[in-house]
Symmetry: C2
Subunit: 418 residues, 2 copies
């Protein structure tokens, strides 16, 4: 029997009416001949309520107890979904993590899958059950304690089940109807993509298109699980939404698939740093230890310091604006400890990052030039450039961000299909 995994997030199961709506979509797939594994999140708001109680009770909580409390929200939805399906004459039952059992590491609140044995669910499907409803976001540790995967872990649960059971596809139902070429709030020309590759999705997700949890896309890429993102609030059929898949499935791809952005970026420059082997590690080690997410890094060409033979350079990097204070503290501590040396730290807190992403870049030259020309034509000054195999990012003045996204969307003709 072909098998589908369907995942419904918190807003898709926010109340009993929405659970019924989601169950109807499951029944439609059963009627098409599928066995279905349904992954559910907690009803929206419930997890926040539970997390709030834990934090108020114990600010430095025991993560094992946190997990035991917080996982209960998904258990409630799983039972209600199974009951709703039964009311529609679909043979279904709920499964909590320990019942499957979903085996994870003992890293509470950030656990990783160890194994999802198929035996228990396979037995139920063989008995004629058509749907297994799984409480997402949770598992059980080798010590028999309940674990959670961290927020957003229900997407990861869905992909892990799809991989373990060889599902034909893993459908992620959410409150948007797919992946867009860019944020439709910034340009009305944004167009929904029919397909996108895992690699592109990873770049778009980490850059701010917050539809799928990054780890779930990584997992899908590793196990070649075809993911579909679609809306639980629309009528849907087999063509709905956006398919995230291996690039082999994407016959003709444009050079650029999408334009991503990140609004609250800061540019930091260490002026006159001694240029010696190991200096980068001496700078970025303490930053990483302090939890600063350094993104783009640029090092100027080395020159000789005035009245000295020692080569010096400037080191520029970007990080989220709300981490600037932490970065400054880490750098000053490293200088005070004598690990690094610099004249001044210049901070520009008015930056934003704009990126174009596309697997087509690999085989097409001139993408960067086309990007820079489009920005120049609108008078947008570029502060920092960073490139990867399928992405070009620039740091610009924040006030130009929307303009830049619109200009790049036009320049790469993303409003046109194919």
């Amino acid at each position: 029997m072909p098998l589908l995994v369907m995942k419904f997030g918190g807003t898709s199961v926010a109340d009993l009416d929405r659970i019924r709506n989601a169950a109807a979509k499951v029944k439609a797939e059963v009627d098409r001949g599928y066995d279905v594994i349904v992954i559910v999140s907690a009803m929206s708001g419930k997890t926040n309520e539970l997390v709030g109680w834990v934090n108020e009770t114990s600010p430095l909580y025991d993560a094992r107890e946190y997990d035991a409390v917080v996982s209960s929200g998904e258990n409630v939805t799983a039972g209600l979904m199974a009951l709703t399906l039964q009311e529609m004459d679909v043979p279904a039952r709920s499964w909590q993590g320990w019942q499957v059992p979903i085996q994870t590491t003992s890293a509470h609140s950030a656990a990783r899958f160890v194994d999802i044995p198929r035996a228990n669910l396979d037995m139920k499907f063989a008995e004629g059950f058509k749907v297994a409803v799984i409480a997402g976001f949770q598992g059980v540790s080798p010590e028999g304690r309940i674990t959670t995967l961290g927020r957003g872990g229900s997407d990861t649960t869905a992909v892990a089940f799809a991989a373990a059971f060889g599902a034909e596809r893993c459908d992620i139902y959410t409150d948007v109807d797919g992946i867009y070429t860019t944020d439709p709030r910034i340009t009305s020309k944004a167009r929904k993509l029919d397909k996108i590759s895992f690699e592109e999705m990873l770049e778009l997700a980490s850059l701010g298109a917050k539809v799928l949890q990054t780890r779930s896309v990584e997992l899908a890429m590793r196990y070649k699980v075809r993911l579909r993102v679609l809306s639980s609030f629309d009528e849907t059929d087999e063509q709905s939404g956006t398919l995230v898949c291996d690039e082999d499935e994407i016959m003709e791809s444009k050079v650029v698939s999408g334009v991503a952005y990140s609004r609250e970026e800061a540019k930091l420059t260490l002026v006159t740093v001694e240029d010696r082997p190991g200096i980068a590690a001496a700078i970025f080690g303490p930053l990483a230890d302090s939890g600063v997410n350094v993104d783009m890094i640029v090092q100027n060409i080395s020159e000789k310091a005035q009245g000295s033979d020692k080569p010096v350079t400037d080191m520029t990097f970007s990080c989220p604006v709300d981490q600037v204070a932490r970065a400054r503290k880490a750098l000053e501590a490293a200088r005070d400890a004598g690990h690094i040396n610099y004249d001044t730290l210049e901070v520009d807190e008015d930056a934003a990052k704009v990126s174009v992403v596309g697997i087509g870049m690999r085989s097409h030259a001139g993408v960067a030039a086309r990007m820079f020309r489009a920005l120049a034509a609108d008078g947008v000054n570029i502060k920092v450039i960073a490139t990867s195999e399928i992405k070009i990012s620039v740091l610009i003045d924040r006030k130009y961000m929307e303009l830049a996204v619109q200009a790049l969307h036009d320049a790469f003709e993303l409003d046109k299909a194919g």
Copy 2:
């Protein structure tokens, strides 16, 4: 290490402040040198919310899913209680039913204990944990599904753990400060009892003193678990509340320990019933099958029917007022089917039941006479009388109920200790 079981009901853990208050009581016992097993209910209101969702989703629900959903309330409280104790530097952890594991039958929503293996908890106590917080009201079936014991099952969980672990005592914290000689709302002379026997408690509980679930008292009696009922809202010490214990522990007992009542009773009389062997079974079988809880039964002395040789009698019984319609229907159906025969069914819906309860009755004569005299002195007419070894009940006009309770409380001098 001596061990205590402490159980906190829904109102005692209704919010984080109350959980802290309960945890302080647990810490006090740990400080006195006890290991403690804490049994918690769901925060008050939570179970009703979950039950409401299940009923709305599926009126004829699958009890396995009902149990999976409804048991989640206790899991939340257990985790929060463990965290609260940890904040007070008391080494504690939470246990869900399947983790102990609390083994029950598969009778979902009305499961019974099969076994509570000690190994897992004993190991944790040996490691230095002082408190095991158990989610009450739940267990796990042989099939690995979550079961619940039915409403009020947290009391039963507490007694079962006290029996399994040989606890010195099982303290039931609730919103009243003990068991009273009668309802203090009816007479201000009602006095809190220091001790009461299991047998007396059973009679009082089933008669309307709704403090302890009947099944938990039965279980406590069978395993000789000393129960203490006390308030979670008062300062408490080792003398607080009422101890429910074996009668051997009660040195001097009064003839009567308490006066119970049940307000909404009906008296039904089948007039001119054929008096033949098996007639009682023919009448009360259909009533039981229809779910009518028949309480007191009186059969008049047989006489000959007019113009006939057949002996006839009148059969009188009582049941709750809200079951009268059901009783009438069952009896008429039995008559229509030819199983029984009667002239008329007389129904008196204005009755109430008042009972005096006491193990001292066994060795003291004249209790009934004293009771009837007290009622007669106040002009209270008795409709039906029923007696057991430690209880005398009378059915009277409902409007005299408070008067009768006050008169009996005075007649047996229950306001005086010892």
